[in-house]
């Protein structure tokens, strides 16, 4: 089956009426009485802007958009957000076998398992007294905005499958990522940028590759694939007119193409031609909107200083600023990858170095959104694909999936709380575990989507982001 053709067939006039009757309610009825309104509704259907299949929403939305700060490589929860004094006491001692027996392990297979004390001192910050280490001097200042989950669990112990799991809810490739599901479900609020944008940066540790699979639309129509903007130079490839062609001349050529396609469509009446005409319009708008997005000259100096960036230099800091600009422009799902948290060795210095690259800009993003009144409907997620072992790997830590930390802020989560706990050595989630499926269910809930209802039929069955699992974590909702 050709999914896109299938989907486009649903955009024929007949189907539009059917969909409008189910979704937009009054329009269909009104249009029977008023042909002008029908024409307006049809024109809407041909817009490049996708309005989403979850219509109306299942719940009152707490968040309108998501900014997901993906800490690629697996940040150590034991050097960041999960304070384990007992682990310090056992430093250098054998890890009790009761914890590790029969559990999956990545690179420490066959090695003697010894405890490694937390390498950075913890403190309590903000009115809420949220615990974190001194590697985050800036994030300490937003402690009262953060909802820290200390009981995350995943099922994949190597980077690529674990990232795939975190993004798509399965390690099997070919499934849509969360950003694609959200764009497909909710549509986009802007008509000149894609609904799902990805930016990457690196530094501070072994930079594991990140595959384009992480923002793929899988079996959803490919127009919902995340668009990776390059964080330096031309943000979108081929976004500039060719040499010797002015903007006006580009518009002339585009006008001619649209008119000729329109004339041809009159004879063949193919919905794909209408889509192509609207995508050419979007392309032309992107030729202006993308350079405008990355031109930071309208940002005052104090904002650049707050993020700690001089401009679009490919750093995490400049990506955070771009994330805010994308959010302001109505992009639904923005995902930033920082590759540099894979600290198999030298975890003390490694975590400190990587933290320094992300700390200030992360805090600035939260504060900046807050002062613009956007934090209340923007959900920030900060976390990696897994955590790291309480056991030493030399002076580092190995991959670890049974318990790790992640935090969220804004968009309907309770600020200034810590949810869940690992056992006394920080090995496994012991209290209120939050599985990746639960996280996905919660994120969709915050966006107004019932996760069991957002489905897409593929290979004979209905698939969803949470597959056959997932529970909304109600206790962290504001």
């Amino acid at each position: 089956m050709n999914f896109l053709n299938d989907y486009q067939l649903h955009e024929t006039r007949r189907h539009f009426l059917g969909r409008a009757a189910a979704g937009v309610g009054g329009i269909a009825l009104a249009s029977l009485l008023n042909p002008k309104l029908m024409a307006a509704a049809e024109a809407q259907a041909k817009e490049p802007q996708w309005r989403g299949v979850v219509n109306p929403l299942d719940f009152r939305p707490r968040a309108k958009r998501v900014i997901y700060l993906f800490m690629s490589g697996g940040p150590s929860h034991l050097e960041t957000f999960d304070n384990k004094p007992q682990l310090a006491k056992l430093d250098g001692q054998p890890m009790p076998e009761s914890f590790t027996k029969g559990q999956p392990i990545a690179q420490l297979q066959g090695a003697a398992l010894k405890c490694l004390a937390p390498q950075h001192p913890f403190g309590k910050y903000g009115k809420s007294g949220q615990e974190m280490t001194d590697v985050f001097p800036y994030m300490q200042q937003i402690a009262d905005d953060m909802c820290i989950i200390r009981s995350m669990q995943t099922e994949q112990i190597n980077h690529d499958p674990a990232q795939t799991y975190m993004n798509t809810g399965t390690s099997i490739s070919g499934r849509p990522s969360m950003g694609s599901w959200v764009w497909y479900g909710l549509g986009c609020e802007c008509d000149n940028l894609p609904g799902f944008v990805v930016l990457t940066s690196e530094g501070g540790g072994q930079a594991q590759p990140v595959s384009a699979r992480q923002w793929h639309s899988g079996f959803l129509p490919s127009k919902f694939q995340g668009v990776k903007f390059r964080s330096k130079g031309e943000a979108v490839l081929y976004v500039n007119s060719p040499p010797g062609v002015s903007t006006e001349q580009q518009r002339d050529v585009l006008d001619a193409v649209q008119k000729l396609d329109g004339l041809f469509d009159e004879t063949v009446d193919n919905p794909e031609i209408a889509t192509r005409i609207s995508q050419y319009e979007m392309a032309f708008k992107m030729q202006a909107s993308v350079p405008d997005l990355i031109d930071l000259s309208d940002e005052p100096q104090y904002v650049l200083d707050m993020y700690g960036t001089k401009g679009a230099d490919g750093s995490f800091a400049s990506n955070c600023l771009l994330a805010r600009r994308l959010a302001e422009r109505g992009v639904r799902f923005i995902q930033l990858y920082h590759r540099g948290w894979d600290h198999h060795g030298g975890v003390k210095q490694g975590v400190a170095t990587t933290a320094k690259l992300v700390d200030q800009a992360t805090a600035a993003l939260v504060q900046d959104l807050k002062q613009r009144g956007m934090l209340e409907d923007t959900l920030i997620i900060w976390g990696g694909e897994f955590g790291r072992t309480p056991m030493a790997q030399g002076d580092g830590r190995d991959h670890h999936i049974r318990g790790f930390s992640l935090w969220m802020a804004g968009g309907g989560v309770k600020p200034g709380i810590t949810h869940g706990a690992t056992d006394e050595l920080g090995y496994a989630a012991a209290q209120d575990p939050v599985h990746v499926h639960d996280l996905h269910a919660t994120v969709l809930y915050l966006l107004g989507i019932e996760h069991t209802k957002l489905t897409h039929r593929f290979q004979g069955r209905d698939f969803r982001l949470t597959d056959v699992a997932g529970n909304v974590v109600h206790s962290i909702l504001a």
Binding site: M1, N2, F3, L4, N5, Q8, T12, R14, P48, S173, G174, T200, E202, P209, S211, A212, R213, P221, S222, K223, V227, K228, R230, K232, G233, E234, L237, Y238, V239, N240, S241, P242, P243, G244, V245, D252, V253, L254, A256, V257, L260, L263, F264, T267, V268, N270, E272, I273, T275, R276, Q279, Y280, M282, A283, F284, Q287, R339, Q459, G460, R461
Partner: protein
């Protein structure tokens, strides 16, 4: 120890006294009494020429697939293919010389509404060309296409620094665009960097080859428009196409546009189409006559030398016309 075997519920002649080999598997797959292999191949070939399989789900003709629209035809073709000794060329010939294949793709509104998926094949299907063919087609129309076969991979123009984002442990890869004829080889020969393939192939839904794809999705995105409008490959093709239009298309604007249409979409333009492109050409001719620098930039995109004895501004203006024609839905679709 697990020995190679066919799942127990499937019929299989027992092989005694030795471990089964890949040859046994191949023979089992292609045994004359196994109808599935030839049925699957025939169904996939059908999709290439008719836009959709006789059974719509190509990767699964079993319980999760779709019942074929024409089961007897599928079975007859499968038997025919098997009995011919698995002769692919014969199968293709059989399909493309049939009455069903040679139908027009235009149909009345009533017919389209009665059968929106064209399940009953009362017309030919239309679909956008596959990624490689979009480029092959532009190169062919502009006279640049090399028909050389085989040999090592080639490197069409790719944006500078594209591989800088390709985060291998080895560091950035170097990409050197091919010179001469190799720049204009068919898309089939383009160098594949898995998960980081050429951005214009990617925009037109070429799979990244991270996993097998029995069927490609067919999307329609703004990135495709950006590729066709701005990728130097298509602009070089447009300016070379413009050179041919000027040299071979006749003397008047109408003759030239008609010639261009015949090259690109195999038909004559309507009066309305002629007037849109005539106006475009006239406006840009005026503009490029007063801005020769811009004209020079446009007609020097890519490695191919511009034609001799042609006015620079005129060539640039006709490049605009050629760009429009190469961007038409009709040009990138099989109708």
């Amino acid at each position: 120890m697990v020995n190679p075997a066919v799942p127990a519920f499937l019929p299989h002649a027992a092989i005694e006294g030795r471990r089964e080999t890949r040859l046994d598997l191949a023979q089992w797959l292609t045994a004359p009494e196994n109808p599935l292999t030839s049925r699957v191949i025939v169904n996939r070939m059908w999709k290439k020429f008719y836009g959709a399989g006789l059974s719509r789900v190509l990767e699964d003709v079993g319980t999760r697939g779709d019942w074929p629209t024409h089961p007897e035809l599928l079975d007859w073709l499968a038997a025919e293919f098997r009995d011919s000794g698995w002769d692919v060329k014969r199968l293709v010939k059989l399909m493309v010389t049939s009455a069903a294949y040679r139908q027009t793709s235009t149909a009345s509104k009533e017919l389209r509404e009665a059968d929106p998926d064209n399940k009953w094949l009362e017309r030919q299907s239309t679909f956008r060309l596959a990624a490689e063919f979009v480029r092959d087609n532009a190169l062919k129309v502009s006279g640049l296409l090399s028909e050389k076969m085989g040999g090592p991979s080639v490197y069409p123009y790719q944006p500078d620094g594209y591989y800088a984002d390709c985060n291998t442990f080895r560091g950035p890869l170097i990409y050197d665009p091919s010179k001469g004829e190799d720049q204009y080889r068919r898309g089939l020969y383009t160098f594949w960097k898995r998960s980081f393939l050429h951005p214009s192939l990617l925009a037109f839904d070429s799979p990244t080859r991270e996993e097998c794809a029995a069927e490609r999705v067919v999307s329609n995105t703004p990135l495709q428009a950006l590729v066709l409008l701005n990728d130097p490959t298509y602009n070089e093709a447009a300016r070379c196409f413009a050179g041919h239009i000027l040299k071979e298309g006749g003397a008047t604007a109408a003759d030239r546009i008609t010639w261009a249409y015949r090259q690109a979409v195999s038909r004559k333009p309507t009066a309305g189409e002629l007037s849109i492109l005539t106006d475009l050409c006239a406006k840009h001719l005026k503009e490029y006559q007063s801005d020769k620098d811009a004209a020079a930039k446009l007609i020097h995109i890519g490695l191919a030398p511009p034609p001799d004895g042609v006015d620079l501004s005129e060539l640039a203006a006709w490049t605009s016309v050629a760009r429009a024609v190469l961007n038409l839905h009709e040009t990138v679709a099989r109708l």
